[in-house]
Amino acid sequence: MKTIIQGKAFKFGDNINSDVIIPGQYLIYIDAERLSQHAFEVLGDDFPAKLRNYQILVAGRNFGCGSAREQAATAIRGLGINAVVASSFSRTFYRNAINDGLPIIECPDLHAAVEEGDDLRIDLAQALIFHRDRHYSFPKLPDSVRGILEMGGLAAYLKTQLTSPPRP
């Protein structure tokens, strides 16, 4: 996982649910590229195509609420999005993003300041987001879960764990 993530931000509001991120009819897929073709498509316009011009999603409160479907994180990753910064996440999306290797950052102050297309630079090691002439700090992930994200997701992490006996 890169420790510096930069790119243009696309901005969403509050309570973007996982049915909107990836509709249930596509849960027959688990492949990131295939899922991404249908990500956010219920929003109409030229979703999801236009999201491919952005590298970071900035959202309001409770991003990823609703269904526990892991493919919500996978579909976003498939769009070429390298991080999601939200004021808050639903707990299921939060876990799924970590397990899927999608960096997620809780930063309640950023949302109001950002406009669509703004350039952002995220330094994961320092836990700072740089936007225009300001920077915002965010809480680091707990050590116990940072390792999963750094390995690119839970499947890769699990593989390393299996070399030692699973039962304590």
């Binding site: 509709p23 997701g153 499947a155 299996l162």
Partner: protein, 431 residues
Amino acid sequence: MGMTIAQKILATKAGLSTAEPGEIVEAYPDLVMSHTATWRSVSVMNKIGATKLFDPERLAIVLDHISPAKSEKNAADQQVSRAFARKYGIRKFFDIDSGIAHLVLMEAGHVAPGDLIVGTDSHCTIYGSLGALGTGIGYTEVTSVWLTGKLWMKVPDTFRIVLSGEFAPGVFSKDLMLYLIGTLGADGCSYKSIEFYGDSVVGLSISERMTMANLAMEMGVKCAFFPPDAKTLEYLKNRLKEPDRYHPVYADTDAVYQKKLEVDLAQLEPMIACPHEVQNTKPIGEVVGKKIDQLFLGSCANAKYEDLAIAAQILKGRHIHPSVRLIVTPGSKNILLEAAESGVFKTLLEAGGLFTNPGCGACVGDGGALADGEVCLSTANRNFLGRMGSSKAEIYLCSPATLAASAIRGVISDPREFLQDAWASARGEEA
């Protein structure tokens, strides 16, 4: 300092004497449920080359979403799940005839008070109706629990919700939850555990508690609890295979609650969740008259026997409006059997309802999909954009009573206009 129910269960399952809110523990769930998503967890297991489960007895598999298979792809996915269950000797395997995972597992006695249960479904919170900690996780994490037996969990803060008074006729647990979700918001209880208390809880049937613990997810809870009582024991006494599985967990009297809320049930009225968020709730008076195309009596929230019986109570001797269609999807085979025996099945059929096989059905757009511009009134727990088919369709959520009343009129209607003396007895029937 005393502990809440969530603290106690997580501490126990992590082998600790205490667990404080905010602490991250490694907990060993008693049960890990996977539904139609099972094939995805199997694919992760294959991908990493794992072949040994931590404990096959802790797995439960229920094929409930998209069942029976609607496509070659669904069929192949189900084939993977069945083959996995056979290969590893998964005894808690329920095929497409069974119904919705949550209801099936509770009916079969695989959920006991004090259990920690994780599963590939956000509505695992429903297990709190029996005093178990249930919460949703993704399919890769299910694989992880299959293999290692454990997962990291953050110990949540707890809200205490105290219920007083009695529901007025025509008002139900669904209305209470829509009221709470509308008041607190879709993230009003994010990452929190909630515990229901108060004089009114004693009177709530297990079916009503299931509806409430289920809907609690829609305000973001990690888990929700009804402290086990005589009704819990009554529900479980012939279901739990081993009597020593009944080990209720209660909060300490000096447990610390982050927030306390009080609700007087007598003040509530029928509620409707309007498109496209569950928190977008309104008292029924503001929505009455809205034209409907389809009605869905189904889902893990409100397709239990009691829910079907309430709808039948209103629809008995009547017929749905000619401009609407009514889809009834019982939550489980056992519920369908009970409805068949009691006459509820016949009543709903004669009233113009279409019965589908038990399962998740139209709640996730599987059968009963909506076309552009159509309006569905549903007893399910979600009305998200595009969830039941077209993104140009609208979904409204309500109680089974409101659904039945609205089916007769063809527009959203207040169930209190159809009140009968039999209300109280309908509410009192078994879950």
